[in-house]
Symmetry: C2
Subunit: 596 residues, 2 copies
């Protein structure tokens, strides 16, 4: 059976020593209460919840899955899920980051992200039920009318109800312009919404008394394509303007999907048949409102990747320390035992260090992005807010794309260390690989993230976020230039950052001549950018050791892992750079017919 | 639902145009009958069997899985498996490559490999039932006494019985020196074997009337470790020296594993309790006898990787041609349709070309290795036999390690092209990824292959196989040097081959000072070697176009795919080279305690 121990030491190190979170929160109006002591208390309580409540029902949840009762159109979640959710609500977790003005605790999203990492490490399927609510909260906060906020936002915030995001239809996932669901105005100011949505996470379940669907649909007079999409609230049980729960709305789960993983997270086909719906925001502006939800959700999926990397690392490390098999190449290390533990073998160490370097580096990167988000919403300075917004907007596709892609490699490594035992369900490790597989697909595939990064955030928006980020790295390198302890990291970081910047300009130039160059470079560019960003996170982590109160062992491990990252992982950028420079013709020249 | 169409055009091209198989077989005594016409007939019949009999029960086999009836200790295979096996036997497939002296058709193993690729593309789980028999045949042929060959080999060869390989025990997989199963001599010259073996593929099933287990065990006076292991035949039903089927032997399946994939391939815990067993080969020389089986099995697992790459490619390509989503970056390509097909998007093409380049390149590499095997057994010239043996021995870990690792990436890409639909079981594509995941684990993990390649085949055996291979590439490059059509491939091939050779020498030098350098370099070196080997295969494929009768479209696609491989995949060697040059310290310096 697999274990989970929340990595609180490393979380504190990343949050406080590397990123100086509390120092930041202290000067952001509204976040002053997020002192180190308070954060410690929150993290410890979250760790307890993740370790003791969620982790024990992760394997059983995968084995049991969710079950649809067709007759009643109801979904039974796996054993323990409902009770865990009740504890989650009772513990006040749903209100953690909700502003106090909406009845929440008003903590920074950065803190929510750390709690989320622990939830996702412990039980990523379970984590999907509350995760989608977070998106609804964001959309309602930003675009809901006062009565909608009162009637819907409050119960969601309190966790009494959950939310969903209903975008995808059978014939359109990424391409929302093709969607067909329609909403017609009714006499009372509401709408009647009809259509079929697929891949609806938590579309139906038994955790809460109501479920609030945020649904994209077209008004009768809507222009075609993405400019004719509006956003609606469609509750499972109708809700009066007074907030009173009414009768069942005419919508129901039609079927649930059988998936490769996250089997305890229910994925529904939802049928709406003249369901009572309320418009959120302006007509035909639904896509923008939905993006409010999606950006948060994208960062959150990145955190799912991080959570799974950490979980796989912990378990494969424990196994490598425990399992005796073969002798070290340089002679027995434990001659009194029948064989040496797996961890003496260099390639087992390579796989462990890969996972460790990814987990710890990605943690810094994700938290850094969330801190930019918190700055963008809470800084008293407009310029700083704008800078934060540009940075988080630039980093979102990197965090989503990179962390979920690295989760594939890391969970591969975790399984590989277990050898044949890794392939057996009972061992529990292969579940992490199956669960991780969804993360590069939902909330926009890696391809979508890559095009968002290169096409939109860099080329269309003139690379504002990238410039801030490059500037920050440059300052960091200059400040550390005379620090000999950092030389082995800062020197290569400065070089690859310069190369990254040059490569970006090269692509921009090519793209002017041929827009296909963007798509041809995008995924390799995402990896390239991600690896450089991680190098920066690792260099900062080493730099932070000087003033850290961590143990010498902890510091030593950081240095070794940083060295591993710089010498054995970072050189991958050269392969990605070469692929990009090969240009679009290498992909586009072959006629479609020749693929057959 | 997924499709499968045997890629006969490309198989013929690889076999005849690139590798000149029939020209080789013509001059190898015993293989003269393997004319192009005969091979064509065999391939077409195998394609029909794979497409029409095996492919339709692949998805249902995964859904149903195998079922153990504890009371009778019997295993029910999924619907259609037994009938398909009966057709396989009726069609004479089990005897395809068995020498005529043992009642077989005596065709080259190369031909068997092609048939196997089609079987594995169609239904890799089903393919595991006959696959293990092949190993038993090899071991019995090489080490069995005359009566053993008569009593056991014949029914296995004819497919009336199947074979297994029983190596692994709960506490030892790779490290066979630790095994505990014991065999005591009985009065009649047989032995009584007791112990528990795990991960036994096809250990129990309902396809045949008997199952022959080849089991590693210790004799009472055996020296400790790997030098005290002997190999035994242990049939499910006892077999007299006259070949008569007797009573049930005292062995039984104890349980079956629930696995991530290949769910229709049964994986058994086998309990032996004073079971009647017969020694094969000399006492305490069992490991060597087992290696006879394992080397064939390793190449065969490489072919499983190839089969899955091909299957994933076909299906994701069909989807990419069919599914309409978004518009091309350079403007609509199908303005009359609501959106363009996925294949207009550069990164979808990158993923398709990656799969295509892997499938076609790996096919040439695998068949090349099998041809060396056929040379090693059938050449009339001792020197040529030795050279063939050295080459196949060198290539076996590359074929096993590389093809199975690339199958991970390729099936990842196949799922990714399907987007969210790829994650749904019903679509059928995620099964390929789950099925592929076992291939880097069984028959020796990638780590074992890598150490075998670098530690044994190159450093211990002084790189005989590598030298032949480098020599062959060098000759190829010299011969093509003046061919301008080949310049874009031959020039980089010559460079990377030289770098490969230099890197090998560097590692050899380092390893003299520190044996850990071998393990620290091994997996990256396996990838490095594999990518250079594929570059050679691709360059040869382009060179073969000149005299090929293939269509211009086929030739054009080859050139495009080769160009893609050289410019976008081959540069990965630089990342692997850099990782290797980082040295063992980057992995070994961190104390075990700091991983925690």
């Amino acid at each position: 059976m697999t274990q989970y121990n929340a990595p609180l030491k490393d979380i504190r190190f990343a949050l406080q020593d590397v990123l100086g979170a509390s120092a930041l929160f202290e000067r952001l109006p509204g976040f002053e209460s997020a002192t180190p002591d308070l954060l410690d208390a929150v993290l410890e309580e979250a760790a307890r919840f993740a370790e003791q409540v969620l982790a024990p029902i992760n394997f059983s949840g995968d084995q049991e899955g969710c079950e649809l009762d067709k007759a009643s159109a109801s979904v039974r979640t796996p054993s323990g899920f409902k009770e865990a959710y009740a504890q989650y609500v009772e513990g006040g977790w749903p209100t953690l980051t909700t502003p106090e003005s909406f009845g929440g605790q008003g903590l920074p999203e950065t803190v929510g992200a750390i709690v989320k990492e622990m939830i996702d490490s412990a039980n990523v399927s379970w984590g999907n039920f509350p995760m989608l609510s977070h998106g609804s909260v964001e959309a309602l906060k930003a675009h809901g009318e006062a009565w909608q906020q009162e009637a819907f936002l409050k119960p969601i915030t309190e966790g009494r109800w959950t939310g969903t995001m209903c975008l995808t239809e059978p014939h359109c996932g990424t391409d929302l312009g093709l969607l067909k669901t329609r909403a017609e105005p009714a006499a009372d100011g509401s709408y009647r919404l009809s259509g079929t949505k697929i891949f609806i996470t938590a579309g139906e379940h038994d955790l809460t008394e109501n479920i609030v669907h945020l649904v994209l649909a077209r008004l009768p007079d809507a222009p075609p394509g993405v400019k004719g999409i509006s956003l609606f609230i469609v509750p499972k049980f109708k809700v009066g303007k007074d907030g009173q729960l009414g009768e069942r709305n005419s919508l129901a789960v039609g079927s649930i999907e059988h998936k490769m993983g996250i089997k305890a997270s229910v994925t529904c086909v939802m049928n709406f048949d003249q369901a009572e719906a309320w418009l959120i925001g302006a007509p035909n502006k639904g896509l923008m409102a939905m993006f409010t939800m999606m950006n948060t959700a994208r960062l959150a999926v990145g955190v799912q990747g991080l959570g799974l990397i950490e979980r796989g690392y912990q378990n494969s490390r424990n196994y490598a320390l425990d399992r005796l098999q073969m002798r070290s190449l340089s002679g027995p290390k434990y001659p009194d035992k029948p064989a040496d533990p797996l961890i003496v073998h260099p390639d087992v160490r390579r796989m462990l260090l890969t996972q460790k370097a990814f987990a710890e580096g990605c943690r810094v990167l994700a938290l850094y992005a969330y801190m930019q988000h918190d700055i963008s919403t809470h800084s008293p300075d407009e310029g700083e807010r704008k800078r934060g917004e540009e940075l988080v907007s630039f980093l979102t596709p990197i965090v989503k794309g990179l962390l979920t892609e690295l989760a594939q490699e890391a969970t591969y490594d975790a399984v590989q260390i277990f050898g044949g035992h890794g392939y057996i369900a009972e061992t529990g490790i292969e579940q992490f690989a199956r669960d991780a597989r969804i993360t590069t697909l939902y909330e926009g595939t890696t391809q979508i993230q890559a095009n968002d990064l290169l096409g939109r955030k860099i080329l269309q928006l003139n690379g504002a976020g990238l410039k801030h980020f490059l500037g920050e790295i440059s300052t960091f390198c200059q400040e550390g230039a005379s620090n000999t302890a950092l030389g082995e990291f800062i020197a290569p970081l400065a070089i690859v950052t310069k190369e990254w910047s040059e490569l970006t300009q090269e692509i921009a130039k090519r793209a002017q001549a041929n827009p296909e160059e963007i798509g041809a470079a995008a995924v390799d560019y995402l990896f390239y950018s991600g690896y450089v960003a991680l190098a920066y996170c690792w260099a900062r982590s080493v730099a932070a050791l000087a003033d850290s109160s961590a143990t010498e062992d902890f510091k030593d491990a950081k240095r070794h892992t940083a060295r591993f990252y710089f010498t054995r992982i970072l050189p991958r950028i050269h392969a990605h750079g070469a692929a990009i420079r090969a240009g679009a013709d290498t992909l586009m020249a072959m006629p479609e017919s020749q693929f057959a």
